[in-house]
């Protein structure tokens, strides 16, 4: 491979990687948000993402709902569904045993229910394409070529991240969420309603995943299996240390760029193995992740 080609591939890989990476970052943020407050890695995050994508597809294509209505409606459905799952199912699961293992199993259950439901509706049996809301004309950045849609994806994702940052830094409810993540008991003593915060976090996390689905769906063929993308997001979260929100963002970009470079330089077929390799590499080289601190030992 000569030098020019390598340079071109590098640019293309990094620019395309930033675009997909921003979507991974959103998914990783939704995972980390829940993990920080509930200590549960939500294995249904990919399926929440997938189901939200299908919800939007159903509204836009099959019901011909206008975009300005379909998008908020999808987000509301995602929020309500996830908040309800947290309130009804997980509350009961912790009451029944309290073991974190059981909560994780319940999220695995949710992922299968959602996948099965989407298949039952009949939309999930064949790959579907999602209408692009932004034109797919080409844009050149350096020597890398992407589409207007890609630019829109990237900017929207950044806007969502900025919104989340402001939410957690400056609003009362955002600070309450962080407080619950640090020490639930102390937060409750300060008058924070844990149940409500948990519902809000799950709802918010689902909304962020739904936005990720709306962004990426026009670029891929939708199938009931598209939630598998969550493996990339888990890898991104681990790269970032799993409890750090900025870490999740950086991890998302790292994984997105790494995926594209592997695809360009090695083989697009090797991408499936990339998240596992990335996870193992991080755990060997820097197990606390880029932004993770020491793990606090839970007292008896």
């Amino acid at each position: 491979m000569d030098k020019d080609l390598i340079l071109l591939f590098l640019q293309q890989g990094i620019v395309s990687g930033m675009v997909v990476g921003s979507v991974y970052a959103l998914l990783a943020l939704s995972i980390v948000m829940i993990f920080k407050t509930s200590e549960v890695p939500n294995f249904a995050q990919g399926e929440i993402f997938m189901a939200a994508g299908y919800c939007a597809l159903f509204l836009l294509v099959f019901q011909a709902t206008p975009v300005w209505l379909a998008v908020p409606l999808t987000l509301v459905v995602a929020f309500a569904g996830a908040a309800l799952f947290r309130r009804v199912v997980l509350t009961q699961v912790s009451r029944a045993s309290g073991s974190p293992v059981n909560l994780v199993i319940a999220t695995l259950g949710l992922s299968y229910v959602l996948k099965g439901l989407v298949r039952r509706t009949g939309f999930g049996d064949t790959p579907r394409s999602f209408p692009a809301l932004v034109s797919t004309d080409g844009v050149m950045i350096g020597q890398a070529s992407i589409t207007r849609l890609d630019v829109a994806i990237f900017l929207t994702a950044l806007a969502v991240m900025a919104f989340l940052f402001c939410l957690f830094a400056y609003t009362k409810v955002g600070r309450a969420m962080r407080a619950v993540g640090m020490n639930p008991k102390a937060a409750r003593l300060m008058g924070v309603d844990l149940q409500r915060i948990h519902m809000l976090v799950w709802g918010l996390s689902a909304v962020v995943s739904a936005i990720a689905a709306l962004l990426i769906s026009p670029k891929i063929l939708m199938t009931a299996e598209m939630g598998g993308i969550v493996t990339m997001a888990f890898a991104a979260a681990i790269v970032g240390g799993f409890t750090s929100l900025p870490g999740a963002v950086v991890g998302g970009f790292v994984i997105g760029i790494a995926e594209n470079l592997v695809g360009l330089f090695i083989s697009s077929r090797a991408i499936v193995v990339a998240p596992f390799v990335a996870i193992m590499l991080v755990l060997i080289v820097r197990p606390q992740g880029l932004f993770g601190g020491r793990v606090a030992i839970k007292k008896v």
Binding site: V113, F234, P287
Partner: protein, 308 residues
């Protein structure tokens, strides 16, 4: 009560090949294989409170390792089965050692990603696994004895399953089993008692991978063909559902769950589109209302009714 259960189980196991047809014996072989998978899952999740979401991958490693050993190199089948188990546990130990350096939950995430990576390897490593064409497995051999039909294989499948069951009981009663449960209940308390927490978790995970590998070896006794499609996450979820239905944390539950839910899932085959919803709903409902499994749930109800 326990003696009665064992007597009934023994009677059924002996009578089965005498009174039924080939398909039922095949099903029995398969359920016994899944019983061993469930025992492995029981050790890591039920006893130690850790997650292994790559059970299907280790099962696959066992199948390919044992199948290739028997088919290409003509090893006698007890050796092939052992090779399957050792190959799976060797890989399991390495992953466990790396993944358990930080948080417990990284084991779940790393094995989740490992499961997908392995399925890809099974599908693409054509030279070894036959890739998408699958792998033909020659009949298992031992000193001129050849296991051609399901009925031929049945006694050996039963023997292996019983051996693994006995091994599970031995581990559970030994110091190792007690340290598994100590880690599950409280890591700090376990550490204070001198239990090396991280090593215990890695050992539990390695043993569970060994069980899955042995189960893979058992599969090669009665099956002639394996395709990577049947080694995906779906299979891991099936095993997890079996353990959950039987009851997390009890050996009887793992065995009972494998048999009871194995039969249910055989019926669900008639309606594949409901399969995923059924697995998912069962996991959720059991975690909500019967976290100790079906048998404990029924026993509670029964006792409650008598007292009332």
């Amino acid at each position: 009560m326990r003696f009665l259960a064992i007597a009934v189980a023994a009677a059924v196991l002996i009578a089965l090949p005498l009174v039924t047809t080939g398909y039922v014996v095949y099903l029995a072989n398969l359920l016994l294989t899944f019983t061993v998978l469930c025992l492995g899952m029981h050790i890591v999740i039920g006893e130690t409170g850790q997650f292994s979401l790559a059970h299907a991958a280790f099962y696959g490693i066992g199948i390919y390792a044992a199948g290739i050993a028997g088919t290409t190199f003509g090893t006698p089948f007890p050796v092939s089965i052992l090779i399957g188990g050792l190959a799976a546990s060797a890989i399991g130990f390495v992953i466990g050692m790396v993944a358990l350096r930080m948080r417990d939950i990284y084991l779940a995430l790393a094995t989740f990603a490992f499961g997908e990576a392995m399925q890809w390897v099974f599908l693409n490593w054509n030279a070894v696994t036959g890739g998408p064409n699958g792998l033909r497995i020659a009949p298992a051999r031992l000193f001129g004895l050849e296991l051609v039909t399901d009925k031929d294989a049945y006694p050996f499948v039963v023997a292996t399953a019983i051996a693994m069951l006995v091994l599970t009981v031995i581990v559970a009663r030994a110091r190792l089993g007690r340290s598994f449960r100590a880690v599950r209940e409280s890591e700090i308390a376990a550490q204070a008692m001198g239990v090396p927490v991280r090593r215990t978790k890695v050992v539990a995970f390695g043993i569970s991978a060994f069980f899955a590998g042995i189960a893979g070896g058992m599969f090669t006794l009665f099956s002639t063909y394996i395709h990577p499609d049947s080694l995906g996450f779906q299979t891991t979820i099936l095993v997890l559902t079996m353990v959950v239905v039987g009851g997390l944390g009890s050996i009887g539950g793992a065995v009972g769950g494998a048999i009871a839910f194995g039969l249910i899932s055989e019926l669900l085959r008639q309606a594949p589109s409901f399969q995923e919803i059924a697995y998912g709903a069962i996991l959720i409902v059991f975690m909500m209302y019967a976290p100790k499994g079906l048998f404990a749930f029924l026993a509670d109800r029964f006792r409650g009714a008598r007292h009332a």
